[in-house]
């Protein structure tokens, strides 16, 4: 309708150069907080925090929580919660550990180290995780039991199913091919990491230019070219900077020597080889990209956000919100299983307490990353950044020598403050 009151004639206001970039100020704030955090710890630890070695370790420690946080974004955006992710991680990890150390070698007679072992183990874990997730989603969506209750029950059930399956024992060592997904045991190496950086940069550039051309083709307003170019350059610089850091972390010479010995060769004197991009981080990147595409460019994602914004409207628009809930929890279960691969491979065994308290870390990561518990808002990159902020905070404090109880006190405080900041930010923005 004509709305003369709320739409005054636009007054020419000076738009600063900065505003022309049309940046997501929230994301910028988070990156700012993260950078300040890292630099602060770096000063306090006399430069030990921002070494390639520590960045590498921080990254591989964050991956498991970050992968699950991506799924948690969808769950929370859809106005649900999943308290069972840590327990589900334990169950799927137990299943995969039993598959590769007992069932496949003993029952099916596959030789240890057979390439089918890691494949079948992971596939079975993913199937179990997805099925459990789908089942919980069915309880929530079709039987309308609140997600809090279903997953609180799941939290107790799956934690102890894992315990029962393994009789509480640590299972290991895991299949050596499986360990590739853990971090230090599986990296792309310097050359492939650079190639990866180049491909990623090219794809980012393609994505940005395609979006711009699409807007121009429809005659929509676009940012000035220099603004777009600045953003593109910043993105590419970030990609190469990250890979450069990971490449700079050299494999310790003893370990390198052992690797040469294993191949029956002698290590050349003074050889330095960098780790490069860990396979687990590559998995996280693939998950992040896929989940972002789902969120932004598929019906599934659009319906998740619409249902989170107004469940009644979604239903009246013909969206099957019940089945949608099943899909969301199934996806969450799938990602728990994927996280279980990374987490157990990083430790080289399945232990009974794997994933303990992960549900809280995952929810905290999503919330710090700007996912609103009221539903309807949240981003994948925010949640991943949230996971990294939490991990940086935790390991930074450990390196500085903060007492263990204080570490958790600080993390808890940061969580609450982050949500408060978010509320203040949204109010100032005028959004609900």
């Amino acid at each position: 309708m004509t709305d003369t009151t709320s739409q005054p004639i636009p007054i020419k206001t000076e738009v600063s150069m900065f505003q022309k970039l049309e940046l997501d100020t929230r994301l910028l704030g988070m990156i700012g907080a993260f950078v300040i955090l890292c630099i602060g710890f770096n000063i306090m630890t006399d430069g030990r925090f921002l070494t390639p070695r520590n960045v590498f370790n921080l990254t591989i420690q964050s991956v498991s929580v970050a992968i699950m946080a991506c799924g948690m974004v969808f769950v929370i955006v859809n106005r649900h919660i999943d308290l069972s992710v840590g327990a589900l991680l334990a169950t799927t990890s137990a299943v995969m550990a039993m598959m590769q150390t007992q069932i496949l070698p003993n029952t099916f007679g596959l030789e240890l180290g057979h390439p089918m072992i890691w494949i079948l183990a992971i596939v079975s874990g993913l199937i179990v995780g997805t099925s459990i997730g789908a089942f919980q989603g069915w309880l929530v969506g079709y039987l309308t039991i609140p997600a809090f209750i279903v997953t609180l029950g799941g939290f107790l059930i799956w934690r102890n199913v894992a315990w029962y399956l393994t009789s509480g024992q640590t299972i290991g060592p895991l299949d050596k091919n499986f360990l590739v997904f853990g971090g230090t045991n599986g990296t792309l190496g310097v050359t492939y990491s650079w190639i990866f950086a180049a491909i990623a940069a090219a794809m980012a550039l393609y994505g940005i230019s395609r979006a711009r051309r699409g807007k121009i083709a429809h005659g929509f307003p676009v940012k000035p070219f220099w603004a777009e170019a600045t953003l593109a350059i910043a993105t590419i610089a970030a990609i190469f900077g990250f890979i450069w850091t990971l490449n700079s972390y050299a494999i310790p010479s003893r370990r390198l020597a052992r690797m040469f010995e294993a191949r029956g060769e002698v290590m050349p004197e003074g050889l330095v080889v960098g780790y490069g991009l860990p396979v687990s981080v590559l998995i996280l990147i693939v998950v992040a990209v896929a989940m972002t595409i789902i969120a932004r460019s598929t019906r599934l994602g659009r319906y998740i956000f619409a249902t989170g914004g107004n469940p009644d409207a979604a239903e009246l628009s013909g969206i099957n919100t019940r089945f949608l809930t099943v899909k969301i929890f199934a996806l969450m279960g799938f990602l728990c299983a994927l996280s279980a691969v990374v987490a157990s491979a990083r430790l080289a065994n399945h232990s009974n307490d794997l994933g303990t308290l992960d549900e809280l870390r995952v929810i905290a990561a999503a919330v710090i990353g700007g996912t609103a518990l009221a539903g309807g808002f949240g981003t994948i990159y925010g949640a991943i950044l949230g996971a990294f902020i939490m991990q940086a905070l935790q390991s930074g404090m450990a390196m500085v020598g903060v007492d263990a109880p204080f570490q958790n006190i600080v993390v808890g405080t940061v969580l609450v403050l982050a949500v408060l900041l978010d509320i203040v930010y949204r109010k100032r923005l005028g959004a609900k």
Partner: protein
């Protein structure tokens, strides 16, 4: 083109014919054997107190509720409407009193919610949707500019125009409007009235639920008054006065019966 009245007199099958519709919630008969029909190019007003069963009846047609008994015919053919999707497939569009907008999404996403335009690869085509949204909004509300903001940032009138755009865009043949002007100012109300007349001229049949007897007198061809889940009567607007309608709403009596 024949008018709705001529079509009715000629005994042509109505666009919508709801026969003996009943629906109960936990023993309470919200709608009790109500029959109502609608012809192309006709506006039928539904009047009654709160809780008279108007919205419930109409939600049976829009697929939000399932009827317990009764039949629905469209163009003389019996149809089953189990959910909002079925209703949409029968070219029934609804503008709900609550507008049913996802506040966190922008206008285009709301316009196409549940019927997104996709690229050949099956991904959502936001640019195409925004382009279509700009086209229809240019017709309905030329002042509308906030295409890239969530609808929570829009004014009541702007939100209403998004909801109307959604109903009009998909070539509805049957339009249900549940108190479309309840939250609007006088100017916007007039816009909605003009739009109703325009759509009527295009041969769309419209069910208009309204509290306001005057706007029903002004816009509708017939009015159906409901009370306690039953119809008090369906009358031609030409034959009645404001007061007749009011007494039907309040007393639950049909003036024609009174005269007889």
């Amino acid at each position: 083109m024949q008018t709705a009245k001529e079509l009715r007199a000629a005994g042509a099958p109505p666009l919508v014919d709801m026969k003996d519709i009943s629906i109960a919630f936990g023993g309470i008969k919200a709608v009790d054997k109500v029959s109502i029909d609608l012809y192309p190019g006709e506006v039928v007003g539904l009047l009654g107190h709160n809780g008279a069963g108007k919205s419930t009846l109409i939600k049976v047609l829009s697929g939000a509720y399932q009827k317990d008994a009764g039949e629905i015919f469209i163009d003389g053919e019996r149809v089953e409407i189990h959910n909002p999707r079925d209703a949409r497939n029968n070219n029934i569009e609804t503008i709900y009193q609550t507008l049913a907008l996802a506040d966190n999404l922008d206008a285009a996403s709301n316009l196409f919610l549940g019927r997104e335009l996709v690229t050949p690869l099956g991904f959502i085509d936001d640019s195409a949707m925004e382009a279509e949204c700009r086209k229809i909004m240019a017709r309905l509300n030329p002042n509308f500019q906030k295409f890239n903001e969530p609808v929570s940032a829009l004014s009541g009138g702007q939100r209403q125009s998004v909801a109307i755009a959604r109903a009009v865009y998909f070539n509805a043949r049957i339009l249900i409007m549940d108190e479309p002007t309840a939250a609007l100012g006088p100017m916007e109300t007039q816009m909605v009235a003009d739009l109703i007349l325009k759509l009527k001229a295009q041969g769309i049949g419209i069910f208009l639920i309204d509290h306001d007897v005057h706007s029903v007198m002004q816009l509708c061809d017939r009015a159906c008054v409901m009370k306690n889940g039953q119809t008090v009567g369906t009358v031609d607007i030409e034959d009645v006065t404001d007061d007749d309608l009011l007494s039907m709403i309040i007393l639950g009596k049909n003036p024609k019966e009174k005269k007889a």
